[in-house]
């Protein structure tokens, strides 16, 4: 049973396609409102005619007249409206999602995201830098078109940050490309949009849109081990002694596992556990001790057998990895 409701409150920022903060989301929200207005007019008109048709105190119309209603309202008008709508809707596609296979290679900032049950493996490829590994969080500069290459390690997931744009599936054996350009700095939430198993509902990410300068500074810090690695000796020792490094990597230590999320800068992430737990020392401790409750079906075993003080120490050390 899920008893983690307080943690679900973890604030991962907003997610709304109707409150756009990206070029694609902007265009699609505008398209939506145009369609809503049109749909409302059409619905009211059809209902008006239907209401009139069901009144008994009116003239009975001729069959010729009724036939014309079918022709105009049923066939001609819909054809015209749909043609116009298609022209408007499809014409925005080349701009929003350019179909250019080469773009991925040449992109100045390419973020590779791999969906796994139930988290996200993230690698930044920035011009002139070594790849930087992270997890469960996307950071990107505002006003720059960022290329995402999307893959899956197990089942189908879908990458979706509603505030920035539409979704794209992550399919085993395939690599999909999506480009997004944020127009407003802020923190947004991105839920996994393709059903991926028991904890599909508990797979989300935080998308942090930063000013360009701040982003590059942040990325440079991510490329180096966290200064926190050297602090809190007991926590680090417990982390290593309990074998956490077999699955998790922490830059600057001998922990170099690649099965689970990279934890090198865990303390500075917006959320824990792929967007579901508040990032605090208590939150980290709870995730370690009650993994199976916080996230049913997750691969990491629950370490509730560990003494509280050890969990506390590990959590403290990890929280310090900023």
């Amino acid at each position: 049973m899920l008893t983690s409701s307080p943690f679900l409150a973890g604030c991962a920022g907003i997610q709304s396609a109707l409150d756009p903060a990206g070029v694609e989301a902007d265009a699609v929200a505008a398209l939506f409102w145009v369609m809503v207005a049109g749909a409302a007019v059409i619905w009211l008109a059809v209902m008006g005619v239907l209401y009139y048709a069901t009144r008994r105190d009116r003239v009975v119309h001729s069959e010729t007249f009724a036939g014309r209603v079918i022709l105009w309202a049923g066939a001609i008008l819909p054809t015209l409206i749909l043609t116009a709508l298609l022209a408007y809707g499809l014409s925005m596609m080349p701009r929003l999602r350019p179909w250019d296979a080469r773009a991925a290679e040449d992109a100045p900032l390419r973020i590779e995201v791999v969906g796994e049950q139930f988290w996200w493996r993230v690698t930044y490829h920035r011009d002139g830098m070594e790849p930087v590994v992270s997890a469960n969080e996307i950071r990107m500069p505002v006003g720059e078109r960022v290329t995402f290459t999307l893959r899956s390690a197990d089942v189908i997931h879908a990458f979706w940050i509603p505030s920035l744009g539409g979704k794209m599936d992550m399919i085993p054996g395939r690599e999909n490309t999506l480009t997004l350009e944020a127009t407003k700095a802020g923190i947004y939430r991105g839920p996994c949009a393709e059903f991926c198993g028991s904890s599909h509902a508990l797979m989300a990410l935080a998308a942090v849109v930063m000013e360009t300068g701040a982003f590059d500074e942040w990325l440079a810090r991510q490329a180096e081990p966290s200064p926190g690695v050297g602090e809190n000796e007991a926590g680090r020792a417990a982390f290593l002694a309990n074998g956490c490094g077999a699955c998790h990597a922490v830059a600057g230590t001998e922990a170099n596992g690649t099965i689970g999320p990279d934890l090198s800068h865990l303390g500075s992430r917006v959320t824990l556990g792929a967007g579901i737990v508040e990032n605090s020392k208590a939150g980290i401790g709870r995730f370690i001790a009650e993994t199976d409750h916080v996230k049913p079906g997750v691969r990491m075993p629950a370490y509730r057998a560990l003494p509280d003080e050890e969990i506390d120490a590990i959590a403290g050390w990890l929280k310090g990895l900023e």
């Binding site: 409701s5 991962a12 699609v28 749909a39 069901t54 009724a66 049923g74 809707g89 509902a201």
Partner: protein, 848 residues
């Protein structure tokens, strides 16, 4: 030489006693058995009612699952049910609503009312209807029951691999695949029967353009089932082979591709939407003219629109895959095609409105539900136009926006019309009208509850709520929307319960409804109140679309037995078979009566699928043998029966043959239609072969093929066997039973040799189907062909036995015609299979 209908009915010279004796004879022949034997009944009126009731019970079960889902989602972070149970609940909800309610209810209702509308005594294959029903109930209980053992499918109703092929999916996935495949077989059986019912069982004179609109829709939808379900069955076969034997059709690591399943599923899944929607519109097409008290305006318009919708629906499936990374050109094309389908839909809606404009409405509960249906469905259609546009779909796809959209379409476009239909047609089944008061209360609860429940979901979706989540976080703006949705769902459920109560509450003390209580114009309302077992007292000549309005004496003349087949003096169940277009009478068809065989065969076949789920190989084999024995017994005793006389005087100076074969017989049509569906499934497998070829640079991945020699030898054997069958049919027609038997033995031997040679190719070349998708797909194609060879061998043995026992003779040659027809399809299957697996790898290598 066409038969001329009498201008006026000849004077009636029978006494009342004679007429009553005729009626008694008919009543006795058509009576359903009593006591426990009641369940052996095959009459469309009995089977159709069981079928409808069962589909409704499954619907209520799935509705309860939906309420559990809604309760869990009423507040954020709820822990009412576990993620595991929730996933089973929503998977089963969708699965049951689609496969155990929406499609079967179409077939169930059609089985009840189609023969009545066509003035037929029954459908041409009553035992097939009963067989379909028993398959449905066995498969349905098996699939639904799984949730009580925590073993229900939990990967969503579209079962995407690799999640659904993984260990994690457990036995639930097998239950889904095998249980539903079994039900799909029953659906196809019903489709075959309904197509032939519409084409061949119309009353004399009912030219195809005089058919009730409902019959048009049945024809279109049954045709769609025939082309839509086979791709899913092909997909199910690949899927189950992967789950059971690790053949890697959807495993990317070994050359497979999860997207192939998505294509096969949605090539089924999108037409499926129209397969459930069109029959509901068909109900409205009967209801609206009755309550406008005038013929439909734009008969040709609505028929063409329905046909157009049917065709277009096969060209839209990719709109379920707009976010899979397909090229923009595909997205543009499928967006346009998806928008286009709104046009014939619009035409159908405006045909109803136009009919009302040109008439004067009579208010009634069926019309209330019809109007509510339009109000809801139009919203679903408009949001459908939105999601059909790829850029908007990138946001809406797999979110609650789509949940809202699909429920507006299915509840507005299917459930409300079905309730309208229940209120409208209930007197035909229950002899009484349903309560108007309960109908109105139920309507308003359903209408308000539905909109309160589903409208907020559009916004939940755009606020980033994905489908199929068992919970959602607080503070992201979803709490109020979900709470309101849950409240609405319960109001809606209360409305459904009121309607259920209106139907099931005891009505023994109420008076019978008047005959033709709504003053409708079509033939089903000839039915007596209370109803008789015979379907129609005598089969009339029909000259117009609304015969009850156009010929005020029609009911009296039918009742007096002044038309065709007014008696059953020989003690057989009989109905008239007519020609496809002009409904010229062709045959007096004797249909079979009550029997345990359909139930036994369905139970044995069901056991095959259920045992397979648990990998109980020996019981599976035993059940398979029992099913085969049951079906052969059925075919031997109840089909192609040689009648006691060649012809029969059916009345009004018309004499019709009782035994006809080849294209004149309904059995030949059934074979033709079944094999069209079979060919579609085969085509889907071939599609799979070439799909793998297109996605890989070298799709053989260096694995050796089956060579050319063995496939070519197999092809030669199969073609020789086919030619032997053609010659065998000629030998029979020439009255040479010795030659017929010799050729049957020869063809049977060649078929066995062909099947063996086909399997030998991949076997000798050591193709291991678990290593890579290429050997796996080659094996599937040759096994498919070999299995069809095995069925051919059974048929040839059946004909041989028939010839030896005098069942198959020069004059009585139904079986050999039907088997040769099967062979035409098998020859094409063998040709395609062996050319593709034998020569295509060579052609590909030399080509590049």
């Amino acid at each position: 030489m066409t038969y001329a209908y009498p201008e006026t009915l000849p004077p009636d010279t029978r006494t009342d006693a004679e007429r009553e004796a005729e009626a008694d004879g008919l009543r006795k022949v058509w009576e359903a058995p009593k006591g426990l034997r009641y369940w052996t009944a095959v009459n469309n009126t009995e089977v159709g009612v069981w079928y409808t009731a069962a589909a409704f019970i499954f619907m209520l079960f799935a509705g309860v699952l939906a309420l559990i889902v809604r309760t869990q989602l009423s507040v954020p972070g709820n822990d009412l049910v576990s993620a595991e149970f929730f996933n089973q609940a929503f998977t089963l909800h969708g699965t049951v609503m689609m496969f155990l309610f929406a499609v079967p209810i179409f077939e169930a209702v059609a089985i009840i009312i189609l023969p009545q509308m066509l003035g037929a005594r029954d459908l041409p294959f009553p035992r097939l209807s009963a067989f379909g029903f028993w398959c449905f109930i066995i498969g349905g209980v098996f699939v639904c029951g799984s949730i009580f053992f925590n073993a229900a499918p939990d990967a969503g109703w579209f079962m995407y691999p690799p999640l659904a092929t993984s260990e994690e999916a457990g036995i639930g996935a097998d239950i889904w695949l095998l249980g539903l495949s079994f039900i799909e077989v029953a659906s196809i059986a019903a489709a075959v029967e309904l197509i032939i019912g519409v084409l061949k069982c119309r009353p004399p004179g009912m030219h195809i353009n005089l058919m009730p609109l409902y019959a048009w829709y049945v024809l279109i939808v049954a045709g769609m089932i025939l082309f839509a379900f086979p791709p899913l069955i092909a997909g199910d076969i690949l899927f189950e082979l992967e789950r059971m034997f690790d053949w890697p059709f959807f495993d990317a690591a070994r050359g497979g591709d999860p997207l192939l399943w998505q294509h096969l599923f949605w090539i089924f899944g999108h037409p499926e939407v129209y397969i459930v929607f069109l029959p509901a519109i068909a109900l409205l097409a009967m209801i609206v003219p009755t309550f406008a008290q005038r013929p439909i305006v734009g008969y040709s318009w609505i028929v063409l629109a329905a046909v157009g919708t049917g065709f277009l629906s096969f060209g839209l499936w990719v709109h379920h895959m707009f976010t899979t990374g397909l090229p923009s050109i595909s997205l543009g094309f499928f967006s346009a095609a998806s928008e286009a389908v709104a046009i014939p839909t619009g035409v159908q809606i405006f045909v109803f409105i136009a009919t009302l404009l040109a008439g004067r409405i009579v208010f009634s509960v069926p019309m209330l539900f019809a109007a509510g249906a339009l109000a809801i469905f139009v919203i679903g259609g408009l949001t459908g136009v939105m999601v059909a546009l790829a850029p908007f779909d990138w946001q809406a796809h797999d979110s609650y926006f789509v949940v809202a959209h699909l429920h507006y379409v299915l509840i507005g476009g299917v459930l409300f019309p079905i309730v309208a239909g229940i209120y409208y047609f209930f007197p035909l089944v229950g002899n009484r009208r349903l309560s108007d008061r309960l109908g109105k209360v139920g309507f308003w609860l359903m209408f308000v509850g539905f909109n309160v429940g589903f409208f907020p979901m559009h916004f939940a979706g755009l606020r980033g709520m994905p489908r199929r989540v068992f919970t959602y976080p607080d503070e992201i703006g979803l709490n109020m929307l979900n709470l309101v949705s849950t409240i609405g769902a319960f109001i809606f459920a209360a409305g459904v319960l009121v309607i259920v109560w209106a139907v099931v509450r005891p009505k023994g003390r109420e008076p019978y409804a008047a005959r033709n209580p709504w003053n409708a114009g079509t033939l089903e309302w000839v039915a007596e109140m209370p109803g008789e077992s015979w379907g129609i007292r005598s089969i009339p000549i029909i000259k117009s679309r609304y015969p009850l309005w156009d010929d005020p004496n029609l009911i009296a003349d039918i009742d007096a037995g002044r038309y065709y087949l007014a008696d059953a003096s020989e003690g057989h169940r009989e109905t008239i078979v007519t020609s496809v277009l002009s409904a010229q009478p062709l045959q007096c068809l004797r249909v079979s009566g009550p029997s345990f065989v359909p139930m036994f065969s369905a139970a044995a076949l069901g056991a095959v699928f259920i045992f397979l789920t648990y990998h109980w190989w020996w019981p599976t084999l035993v059940a398979g043998v029992l099913a085969l024995v049951g079906i052969l017994y059925w075919l031997w005793t109840a089909t192609a029966v040689i009648p006691d006389k060649a012809q029969k005087d059916v009345g009004l100076g018309l004499t019709l043959p009782i035994y006809v074969s080849g294209p004149k017989s309904v059995g030949w049509w059934a074979m033709f239609i079944t094999m069209t569906g079979d060919g579609t499934a085969f085509g889907s497998l071939v599609f799979g072969y070439f799909f793998y070829w297109t996605i890989h640079d070298d799709f053989t991945a260096g694995v050796g093929g089956p060579g050319a020699a063995w496939p070519m030898a197999a092809l030669a054997f199969f073609l020789a066997a086919w030619i032997a069958m053609l010659v065998a049919r000629r030998a029979n027609a020439a009255g040479r039973p010795g030659a017929l038997r010799g050729l049957l033995v020869l063809s049977l031997t060649l078929t066995l040799a062909g099947s063996a040679a086909g399997l030998t190719g991949p076997w000798l070349h050591g193709m291991d189907p678990t290593t890579h998708v290429y050997p796996a797909i080659v094996w599937v194609l040759v096994i498919w062909t070999a299995c069809h060879g095995a069925v051919a061998v059974i048929m040839q043995g059946f004909c041989l036995a028939g010839s030896l026992s005098g069942r198959l003779t020069r004059q009585h040659d139904i079986d050999i015609h039907n088997v040769v027809l099967y062979w035409h399809f098998l020859a094409v299957t063998a040709l395609v299979t062996f050319l593709v697996v034998g020569l295509f790898p060579l052609a590909q290598r030399s080509g590049g």
